[in-house]
Structures are given as structure tokens and as C-alpha cells.
């Protein structure tokens, strides 16, 4: 059975999704746990953008905009949770 790039991307995404669901009970410290959860989301988002949306072949500015969107939203989510954790 030959797996191509799309199949590998799907398997990686399923693995990351299952890891995301399994992770929270194993992470007693929210600050680190949240960072890990959101990093997993960033990895999944990047896989979808590059392999499923095929942004590898798209103009660099579209690739940059989608990557920036993923990073900004997830970073904002982490910063907001970190602020609450530190107060």
C-alpha cells in the first residue's frame, strides 16, 4: 500500500487530534498544558494549509496570511489564558 502526501497528512492530523483530546488530564499545569494544546493546533492548522489547501504551491502572500492568522489567533488565546493564570 503506497501512501502519498495527502494520506500521510491525514494520518498525522488524526494522530495530533487524538493527542489533543488525550492531553488535558495529563497536564496539571494549565500554562504549559495550554501552550502544548495550542502548539498542536498550530501544527494541525499548518498541515491543513500546506497539504490540503495546497498552499505550498500558492503565492507566498496567501501562505503567509493563512499562517499569520493561525499564529495570531492561537497566540492571543495562549496570552489571554496566561494573563489569567498569572493574576
Amino acid at each position: 500500500m503506497n501512501l502519498d502526501r495527502l494520506d500521510i497528512a491525514w494520518l498525522v492530523l488524526i494522530g495530533l487530534a487524538l493527542a489533543t483530546i488525550a492531553l488535558p488530564p495529563l497536564m496539571p499545569r494549565p500554562l504549559l498544558g495550554n501552550a502544548l494544546l495550542l502548539a498542536l493546533a498550530a501544527l494541525k492548522g499548518r498541515r491543513i494549509a500546506l497539504d490540503f489547501m495546497d498552499l505550498r504551491a500558492a503565492p507566498a502572500h496567501w501562505r503567509g496570511l493563512v499562517s499569520a492568522w493561525i499564529l495570531i489567533v492561537l497566540l492571543l488565546a495562549w496570552l489571554a489564558s496566561a494573563v489569567v493564570g498569572l493574576i
Partner: protein
Amino acid sequence: MIWVLIFSELVAFGLFLGAFVVARAIHPALFAAGQAALNLDLAGLNTVVLVTSGWVAARATKAARASERRASRRWLLGAMALGGLFIAIKLAEYAEEIGRGVGLETSPFFTLYFLLTGFHLLHVGLGIIILAVVCRRAETVGVETGAAFWHMVDLVWIVMFPVLYLVR
């Protein structure tokens, strides 16, 4: 043109998610209580369903590019079926929550939760309609356009899921 639409949608969802995380920073206890009442199992299952539908839509694009229209149609039908399954699971999740007395006005958490996930659910429905339209001819450009919108819906859920259900 589709990329302009996709980026506009991403900006709208980004602003919505930004409002959610800022509101959570203002009301941490309220949001923690709301999050604890959500059904993580159904949402996790929906993540697997939507990721798989993204893979199926990507296969439809690959088949269309190889001029295999019949195969492309079959993959598109598969993506639409999985999209339908996502909607069914989400509606079951809503029904369970509403059955427990939770509603749009229960708390700021649930107002934003229902608006965000409802807005996303509308996009899943719209994505199925777009895939159905491009499925008729299964031409390369049409399938690429429909699949690109579908992947945007997938991407938004992948970011939304941990922010709403998991981040503490």
C-alpha cells in the same frame, strides 16, 4: 477570488475567537464552569470527522486534476456525507446541552459558544452546498474552489476546538 473570500472569513472568525478569549480573561471562573459543561467526546469525534472530510476533499481535487471526474465526484460525495455527519453530531451536542437547561442567555460563555459554533456550523452547511454545486461537473477549477472553502471550514474548527473546549 476564492482566496479573498477565504481570508475575509478567517478574519471574521479570528475576531470572534479574539472576543471569546478576551471575555474569558475577564470572567475566568464563569468560562471554566461553562467549558466543564461541554461534551468533549462529541466535539473530539467531530474533529476526527472534519479532518477526514478534509482529506477526502483533497483526494477529490487530486482526482479532478488527473481528469478523473467520476472518481472526483465520488470523493466529493464522501466529503459532503462527512460534512452531514459533522452537522448531525453537532446538533446532537446542542440537543444534549439544551436538554440540560443550557441556552444562548445562560452566561456570556454560552452566548459566545453558541454564536461561534453556530456561525461555523452555517459554514459547514454552505460548504456542503458549494461541494454539491461543483460536484455536478467536477471540473478542476470548480473542485479546487469548493475544496479550498471546505479546507477553510476545517482549519477554523481545528483552531476553534482547543480554544473553546480545552484551553483552561
